[in-house]
């Protein structure tokens, strides 16, 4: 995939620096590790203020969260509220926590902007709880804010590709 901001395969220019696919992969792998280990405070620091967390519905056809129903459309305050909730033992749906195991692959750097980078990646998340096993399959469509020394989420969107949420497959955890 080549766009005007692609420097060479797997390298995109954003503002005055280059971002490599390896850097994005490291960011996504680190995030997956934080989520699988339920280190939610650290995970929350991966968002810039004004960051968003979105999960469209399975019938989604690219509608944005201002014109269509979503599973999750959190602004920054709601992400914070979600983290606080999930850390509480009164978040009954996640007490005890689900065991999750994430695979992230097929990372593609789509296009750079003045300070942001659009990326996509595939995910498979296995979730285990109460004797049930659930598989969530989809792709990430993120807008990353590129800082001089790190990446952060401006929009973190997980797009499920399943036809619906299977019996028991709720989204009480972070997809």
């Amino acid at each position: 995939m080549t766009t005007p901001t692609t420097v060479r395969p797997g390298v995109v220019r954003v503002g005055d620096r280059e971002v490599t696919r390896a850097e994005v992969e490291d960011f996504l792998y680190h995030e997956a590790q934080l989520l699988d280990e339920w280190r939610l405070d650290e995970w929350f620091t991966l968002f810039e203020p004004e960051g968003r967390l979105e999960v469209p519905t399975t019938d989604g056809a690219g509608w944005d969260a201002t014109t269509a129903g979503y599973f999750v459309c959190d602004d920054y305050d709601l992400i914070q509220a979600r983290v606080k909730r999930l850390k509480s033992r009164k978040a009954h749906a996640e007490n005890p926590h689900s065991r999750t195991h994430r695979m992230v692959s097929n990372v593609i750097l789509l296009e750079g902007g003045a300070e942001t980078l659009w990326i996509t990646a595939n995910f498979v998340i296995h979730r285990y709880r109460d004797g049930g096993t659930y598989t969530y399959v989809g792709r990430y469509e993120h807008v990353l804010k590129v800082d001089p020394d790190r990446l952060r989420f401006r929009v973190r969107r997980a797009v499920p590709v399943m036809e619906s949420m299977d019996a028991g497959a709720r989204l009480s955890f972070i997809l």
């Binding site: 999960v55 469209p56 519905t57 399975t58 019938d59 989604g60 056809a61 509608w63 969260a65 201002t66 014109t67 269509a68 129903g69 979503y70 599973f71 999750v72 459309c73 959190d74 602004d75 709601l78 509220a81 979600r82 606080k84 909730r85 509480s88 009164k90 978040a91 009954h92 749906a93 996640e94 109460d130 049930g132 036809e163 619906s164 949420m165 299977d166 019996a167 028991g168 497959a169 709720r170 989204l171 009480s172 997809l175």
Partner: protein, 457 residues
């Protein structure tokens, strides 16, 4: 209170499934009602095959030719608007050999063509193409007999489309009874009407469908189950209260909770998380509603939130914002759920965005509250296996007696009591045809009209 002797059990023993005792102030449901596959099949036969069912909203089909496919009571259907603009429901099965005719979940078409032998039907059901028709009787009656099968009954109230598989059900408005009024209240919120949005939450829970009904009619669970959501609201500056809020038996199994202390209402009752811009708009919208509807009706619509259950498969949540939820029973221990955002036609973009964000933060499998409800249905479904024991029948009951003493005194049941669940179960038992046991004198039930009539008279 002494434990009274237990009457013979319901399934499989043939005794009462509902045990109601107005001397002991006890109402309980035998747990086989959530568990037994035979009883589930009886529900499909007696309820889903013989009662009006919510199919969808006509705004899901804005243009002629629009269609959705949807399973209702286990039957695959095509829900469509024909080329003349009429809303229709067909069985999604080719009249030739029974193949599922339309395999897409939604779209727009003039014709539905079966891939198997290429028979095609117009979107009003006529057989439009019969390949190799020289080998069939040269008789218009034959073609007519092969028209796509329509669901026997279809009626619409305020845009809510209901169907029945039994041609002899009474009219929809008779079925809806007092519930029709509350659907009309919600429908009047917007000066240009209301519409469903695309982006449907499709999910499934490992629980009996009646647990989802109970949960919606149960204000008692709100504070403990949604502790974290109540905490979130408190931090935004809104204090949840359960005081002075009531539950209503609307007859026919329909139920209503009227809530004033659980949330604001976008455009109608402001709360801090809606923001300052919305505060000014709320004042203006109230004036618009009063001039359009009169002060009294505007107040009835705007001042309180409502959770309406229309027996057996529709829940209308008129809360911070609006959600339509449809329950589709799949098995005794599994229910598919579909939920639509329901919004005002023509509202400003910023309000639409606020509405979606706010509603989704509460309801649905990814919200901050519904996952805990789902946890409750599923934990009940797992838990009630424990007491299934013919050798010890005394402990296989779920209790729903909260508030009976208050009700016996002739008072309106509170939202945090279990009266709306009791009226649902009584109606359920009468329709499904399971035995019940009633001891003592039930209180005189006020006419089932909900809160707009004088209470206790």
């Amino acid at each position: 209170m002494q434990q009274t002797p237990v009457r013979p059990l319901g399934a499989p023993g043939g005794g009462a499934l509902i045990d109601e005792d107005w001397e002991a102030l006890r109402f309980r449901v035998h747990r086989s009602a959530y568990r037994e596959p035979e009883l589930f099949q009886q529900e499909i036969d007696r309820i889903w095959n013989h009662t009006w069912l919510y199919l969808g909203h006509e705004t899901e089909l804005p243009r002629p030719g629009d269609f959705k496919t949807r399973t209702l009571g286990g039957r695959p259907l095509i829900f469509c608007r024909d080329s003349d603009g009429e809303v229709r429901a067909f069985f999604n099965s080719c009249t030739h050999r029974g193949t599922v005719l339309c395999r897409h979940s939604e779209g727009n078409t003039k014709f539905f063509q079966c891939f198997y032998h290429a028979w095609a039907f117009s979107n009003s059901g006529e057989l439009a193409a019969l390949p190799g028709d020289d080998a069939y009787p040269d008789d218009p009656g034959f073609r007519a007999s092969m028209a796509l099968r329509q669901v026997p009954r279809l009626q619409i109230h305020e845009g809510f489309v209901f169907v029945a598989f039994d041609p002899d059900v009474p009219d929809l408005l008779t079925h809806l009874g007092a519930a029709a009024h509350y659907m009309s209240l919600t429908a009047k919120i917007g000066p240009h009407g209301l519409t469903t949005l695309p982006g449907v939450q499709l999910y499934s829970v490992k629980g009996n469908w009646k647990l989802a009904v109970e949960n919606a009619m149960d204000g008692y669970h709100f504070a403990p189950t949604h502790n974290t959501f109540v905490g979130y609201l408190r931090e935004t500056g809104f204090a949840v209260t359960d005081d002075d809020q009531y539950a209503y038996d609307l007859g026919g199994g329909h139920g209503l909770l009227v809530l004033t202390g659980h949330n604001g209402r976008i455009g109608m009752v402001w709360e801090p998380r809606f923001g300052d811009e919305e505060k000014a708009r709320t004042t203006a919208k109230r004036q618009e509603m009063e001039s359009r509807l009169g002060t009294e009706l505007a107040g009835e619509i705007a001042d309180a939130s409502r959770i309406l259950f229309v027996f057996p498969n529709l829940l209308l949540f008129d809360l911070e914002a609006l959600t339509i939820r449809q329950l589709e029973p799949v098995a005794a221990d599994r229910t598919d759920v579909r939920a639509w955002q329901f919004v005002e036609v023509g509202e400003p973009e910023s309000v639409r965005a606020l509405r979606i964000k706010t509603m989704v933060s509460f309801v649905g499998p990814g919200g901050l509250a519904t996952p805990d409800d789902i946890e409750a249905y599923e934990a009940v479904q797992r838990g009630i296996v424990a007491t299934a024991n013919p050798a010890d029948p005394a402990h296989d009951w779920s209790d729903m007696s909260r508030g009976m003493a208050n009700e016996k005194q002739g008072n309106q049941g509170r939202s945090i009591d279990e009266g709306a669940m009791r009226s649902f179960w009584r109606h359920w038992a009468s329709v499904v045809g399971v035995p019940t046991s009633v001891a003592g004198a039930p209180p005189t039930v006020p006419s089932a009209t909900g809160p707009s009539r004088p209470k206790g008279e």
